[in-house]
Amino acid sequence: MLSVFARNLRTLGCRGIYQSYHINNYATSTEASFETQPYKLHKLDEGPSTNVTVTRDDALTYYRQMQMIRRMETVAGNLYKSKIIRGFCHLYSGQEAICVGMEASINKKDAVITAYRAHGWTYIRGVSLVGVLAELTGKQSGCAQGKGGSMHMYNENFYGGNGIVGAQVPLGAGIAFALKYQKTDNICITLYGDGAANQGQLFEAYNMAKLWNLPCIFVCENNGYAMGTSLDRSSASTQYFSRGDYVPGVQVDGMDVLAVKECTRFCKDFVLKNGPILIEASTYRYSGHSMSDPGTSYRTREEVQEVRERRDPISKFKERIISANLATPEEIKKIDVEVRKEVDEATEVAKTDRELPLEELYNKIYSNPEPDYQVRGCDPTIMAASH
């Protein structure tokens, strides 16, 4: 037995079992500063800082969160290909730094609303892995008890998944209006894609948000493609941060979690004082638009591979924190293993959990409905009590 160990120790190098002996070798730094890519500004004299300081604990948290979302999405993709998840499913892989970086600069009383690419945001807004994965598999421990699926996940101050392209943007402005009206110090982050950026209703929302100086950060998650249409083929101007005209804007590297965090900090501060702002976060979507799109007919595999190698938000961040001595490769590996384990355990629950019983079908449509409240089914002859 031990001789087998010894052999593995030699062959495994810095990985696997060997690392466990060194697990107490913590990295030496507790804090480090990093330079971000320059921001591009629209109607702003000053932008966010290009120098960002992060503590070791925070860095490890961000790493873990991004890795967790990546793994969760990988598993979701596999479950889909095993026909365990059905229906709509839009993966967030590649865009993790945006939700993780933004969440790091807001608090749980700030609101977020996004489109259908919502799994990462749902997780970062406090829903458990099981809550997301079981929602995808349609089981009762899902965050909408399995009734919503991929596009319909919600949590406190997370207004979810919205399936109609662009429709969440006026809603986001409305949430910001409510936050201002109630005299809170909170803001609403309203996200949409580069495709949605061409929707007319966005401009109506910008207008009203600016007219009333609402505390709204409009965020364009520019991942290069809509449902197969590259931004150059869809947008007369691809400078999305400048498309609010009279609404100031900033473009940030959406693959750098620290830049996103700093940019969001700056913007939260800004909108509370001055009204709305636009962020364009440049990012990339590794998978196709949805599970029915292999994502290879309108872009080359080489393009995707190049982004994975050169810009991947997780591996880039890993390299940075290791080289800044905020973490050791062993610590990172330990996180990876823990993440896998957590996701696998949640996957098991999502697969084996029960579906909501049929009697619950018509319940939880309205909050606190009147006693004996009846709702209509798909067929006009079906009327059912709803609690």
């Binding site: 495994l12 596999n78 026909k83």
Partner: protein, 477 residues
């Protein structure tokens, strides 16, 4: 499968518990990697690659070829193999990182069900050559089977190559068709490169550019068609280059078809149609008909219906009318148009004085008229005019239907087949449904109901129809 894997993991944990005092962290790491994996004797973490569903309807697929060999490093985004789904050849890529340790289903393997284990991935640095294959892995994992499978596949290479170089197909989008027309090019000339051998726009563009084919000039002014002459003249033949592989056939618009189309459209668009149906018991009339046939009097159900309609129209004359110049005219005679199908369309020869003809006279009249109608030899007055129409699809088994009024007439009766129902006494009895379409400017609901009731009572008591010569001569009643 998951449960058996879990058991292996448990065993692993137990195994290591005894080592815990020596290497506490080690124990931790191993339990942490106790995921959905098979643990080999080398305690490696193994990720299973399952046959993916790559289209919403895919149940099984063929592995065309692996892009990676056993022992190759794989990275997220790498293509592992090409899979033929029920729709297309799609690449299977991976989000995993590690070493492809084992290929369990080889190239050219056919009809692999979704969810079947097709390969194993281990972490980098693990002993991939000694990866343990799960007990429930597909049987093709044994080396002999693997080689026999691939050799048997290589004896039928055309089935594989057909997926990569598809046949030309007739399928093309409207924009492609338009391009072909614009350049006067035939689809067959152009190499097809689209999915499933479809012709795509870029094929046509490449073709016309390489051959320097100019655009065809089209006359954009509206065609000046002489409407008067165009009706009698031959159908207009399209000047556009005929495309082969057209997915439809043009039927020339004959003048008879034109007339039918015009009259029916006019009728349905300008006559306010109302409808009413009634069920009639037809056992008595069936029996009577049988008896007559036995006596050598060959009459059909249709002849009885014409007769019954004639009698009913005499009693409810409002249905025996025409609408002309904004008012109704009750006809003095009962002349019934009977729809007859010919190769050129429906035509309605008229049984004149139907109420006063005997059933056998009706029978011979209809036979004679229908015969000439099919030969196209009816004279104008033999099918124009008439005060009421009958359309009978009973012989085709049609249960019931509605017909379009034949203007200037104000009503038409559509006759369905006689079918067996359970009668009021519980025994089976034949029943027939007739549906009246009537012009509600002339006929109201009461008239229509009266007429139908009358018709039903006559057809249900057929002796009324054969009172005279027939019954007397043959002594039936």
């Amino acid at each position: 499968m998951a449960s058996s894997i879990f058991k292996v993991g448990q065993a692993c944990r137990l195994l290591f518990k005894s080592k815990a005092t020596q290497a506490p962290n080690l124990w931790k790491i191993v339990t942490l990697s106790e995921r959905q994996i098979q643990t080999s004797s080398k305690w490696m973490g193994v990720t299973q690659l399952l046959m993916p569903s790559l289209s919403p309807t895919m149940e099984e697929g063929n592995i065309i070829a692996w892009h990676k060999k056993e022992g190759d490093k794989i990275n997220p985004g790498d293509v592992l193999c090409d899979i033929q789904t029920d729709k297309a050849v799609v690449s299977m890529d991976t989000e995993e990182e590690g070493i492809l340790a084992k290929i369990l289903i080889p190239d050219n393997a056919k009809e692999i069900k979704v969810g079947v284990l097709i390969g194993l991935v281990v972490d980098e640095g693990d002993d991939w050559q000694n990866v343990e294959i799960p007990a429930d892995a597909p049987s093709s994992s044994s080396p002999e089977k693997t080689s026999s499978q691939s050799s048997s596949a290589s004896t039928q290479p055309d089935s594989v190559s057909s997926t990569t170089t598809p046949q030309k197909s007739n399928f093309m989008g409207p924009s492609v068709k338009k391009l072909l027309e614009e350049y006067g090019v035939k689809a067959a000339e152009v190499p097809h490169t689209g999915p499933h051998g479809a012709l795509v726009k870029s094929d046509v563009i490449t073709y016309v550019e390489s051959k320097k084919i100019p655009r065809v000039q089209f006359d954009v002014t509206a065609p000046s068609v002489d409407t008067a002459s165009s009706i009698s003249s031959q159908p207009v033949v399209s000047e556009l280059p005929a495309l082969d592989d057209e997915p439809y056939i043009d039927i020339p618009h004959t003048s008879m078809r034109k007339t039918i189309a015009k009259r029916l459209t006019e009728s349905k668009a300008s006559v306010p149609h109302s409808y009413a149906s009634i069920n009639c018991r037809v056992s008595s009339v069936n029996q009577l008909r049988k008896r007559l046939v036995e006596q050598g009097v060959k009459v059909s159900m249709n002849d009885f219906i014409i007769k019954a309609v004639g009698l009913a129209l005499q009693r409810v004359p409002r249905l025996n009318s025409t609408w002309k110049d904004g008012s109704a005219h009750i006809s003095q005679t009962v002349d019934i148009s009977v729809a007859v199908a010919t190769d050129n369309g429906l035509i309605t020869p008229i049984v004149k004085h139907a109420a006063s003809l005997e059933v056998d006279e009706i029978s011979s009249t209809v036979k004679e008229l229908a015969g000439r109608a099919r030969l196209g030899k009816l004279q104008l007055h033999e099918f124009q005019g008439g005060s009421f129409s009958i359309s009978n699809l009973g012989m085709f088994g049609i249960k019931e239907f509605t017909a379009v009024i034949n203007p200037p007439q104000t009503a038409i009766m559509a006759v369905g087949t006689s079918r067996i129902i359970i009668g009021p006494d519980g025994s089976p009895t034949p029943e027939m449904t007739v549906t009246l379409s009537y012009d509600s400017r002339v006929v109201d609901e009461i008239d229509a109901s009266e007429f139908l009731e009358m018709f039903a009572s006559i057809i249900e008591s057929p002796e009324m129809m054969v009172q005279k010569s027939l019954s007397q001569a043959r002594g039936f009643f």
